[in-house]
Amino acid sequence: METAKTYEEINQKIRDGDVVVLTAEEVAGFVREKGVEKAVKEVDVVTTGTFGAMCSSGAWLNFGHADPPIKMQRVWLNDVEAYAGVAAVDAYIGATQLSESEGMEYGGGHVIEDLVRGKEIELRATAYGTDCCPSREIRTTITIDDINQAVLLNPRNAYQRYMAATNSRDETIYTYMGTLLPNYGNVTFSGAGILSPLHRDPNYETIGVGTRIFLGGAQGYVIWEGTQHNPGKAMGTIMVIGNLKEMDPRYLRGCTIHKYGTSLYVGLGIPIPLINERVAQTVARDEDQIKTNLLDYGVPRRDRPVIREVTYAELRSGKIEVGNKEVPVSPLSSFKMAREIAEKVKKWIERGEFFLSSPMELLPRDTIFKPMRQVAEAPLVRDVMTEPAITAGPEDTISHAARLFAEREFNHLPIVDEGGKLLGIVTSWDVAVALGTGKKKLSEIMTRRVITASEDEPVDAAARKLEQHNVSGLPVVNAGGLVRGVITSEDISKLIGRRVK
């Protein structure tokens, strides 16, 4: 495609003070009114922004040498471990690493925010000691000003777009997409939609290695494609770098995703030069043209079922339809902050404080995101459950159950109706407790709100249910509610025993 203007021409305009910059929201209106051709002629740069939890973030730190020297083998910052498998006093603090004393309340993301805020950080390190670096332990406090380099280096940021999440289960679940209420009670989504940097240049014509960007309040760079970069599926990502010492805690916030873990909210913005008409076209697309899938996070598998397709415009409206009910929607990333970042980059460029850099190399457009190679398939509930399950009816007697438990040596008796549908469960413990109380029928002692498993659920997911609900067995039911078997903690221990062998 014919180039309308070069980076050098745009930078000259910035120097001359007559560059024309619009935010991505503004340019959409401009193109709607005046068309793409006019946009390429009259607008030089479009600014974007996003502000969301980006788990794949962290910082390289160099502490300088102690006396006597130490070759740090393990390092903790405010009790959060940093990776130290590099030279003596370098370490990488990752956003999702949890505090060893405070757990999910404090993690690597918080350490990074506290560093940027100039707070004192407790540094602890251990080592095995060598002839040149004999020290085996160190405890001190540092601030960001005391250390040599502090470099934010995030392997995967600024997802072009992301899936929206909901939950089909009848219990609340806590995911990296936030708290998801039972029975499709809410929907969450992430990403800045119309302001999303990578979605404004989805053909990757202007973003590449060396693109200067807004990162955490400072000027940083794109250094590579991000991990899991998947532009073919409109799921591109970037790897970015910037000087943590210049950053602003307004745009880097440590956070806790409830019962999931810690992370870091990162503010990031990319200016997109309108180098040709195609770029002008994609940069101006409205939010109703940005689609994503609403997935059921109630299914703990890699391939989660798609509930429906949604646009960012629908998600942004705060309510969407799922099934035939209207469900409230939460964004997880801040549109207000995304806007603020796009505005800020615009101001920087207009004031001549930010110049565009021509990428050394554009990002690949053909990478794919492969699943993990697993040499053994994850076992499913159907592989380890006891089947067929021994069952009883609600009208059967407690002594009948007592006999069954004694003769067949098991502990979980699903109670079913004539059609085989699950009504409740009675355990050998329930029976033992009930004997001598005068109760007769199983319906009097059965637990009616039963936690169940499904046949094609991974054993790990069933094990988590056992643990969370503090029970020792789950009836396995199919989609029609028919009991197919029972899975117990004993079945799972046997499996683990086999795995260890």
Binding site: T179, L181, V187, T256, H258, G318, P328
Partner: protein
């Protein structure tokens, strides 16, 4: 005006239809937000809509029947300096007390809050505080 009140029932007052009686004698709107009633204790959180005089009178009506009624000054607080306007709390708030404005700021309408505390742990930066009186 709209306020929240904590009612503490004495053991003797527990089995009497006090709330119904009081509601009949006042023009203030009363909304039960939360109740914990059992054999030994009774506590109820109510939202009241009415003039300041009416609210004062309401407190006397309760007190006259052995129910200690107290106006709650602080119920819930959104620390706007810390809030990132991310919106994670929005779809969890059952009453719309937490809501988003036209410029995408997240705001809290204290009057609508029923102090359910769902938003408290769900906020990634712990910007919401609920002052539960019990």
């Amino acid at each position: 005006m709209s306020v929240k009140m904590l009612l503490k029932y004495s053991a003797e007052a527990l089995d009497k239809p006090i709330l119904a009686e009081v509601i009949r004698q006042t023009s203030a709107g009363i909304n039960i937000l939360h109740a914990e009633l059992n054999a030994t204790k009774g506590e109820m959180l109510i939202g009241v809509e009415g003039s300041p005089e009416e609210i004062e009178r309401l407190i006397d009506l309760f007190k006259g029947r052995g129910v200690d009624a107290r106006r709650l000054e602080r119920t819930v607080e959104l620390d706007e300096g810390s809030c990132m306007d991310c919106g994670a709390c929005l779809s969890l708030c059952p009453t719309g007390a937490l809501h988003i404005t036209e410029d995408y700021s997240v705001k809290l309408n204290e009057n609508k809050c029923i102090m359910c505390e769902v938003c408290v742990p769900a906020c990634p930066v712990k910007a919401i505080k609920v002052f539960k009186p019990f």
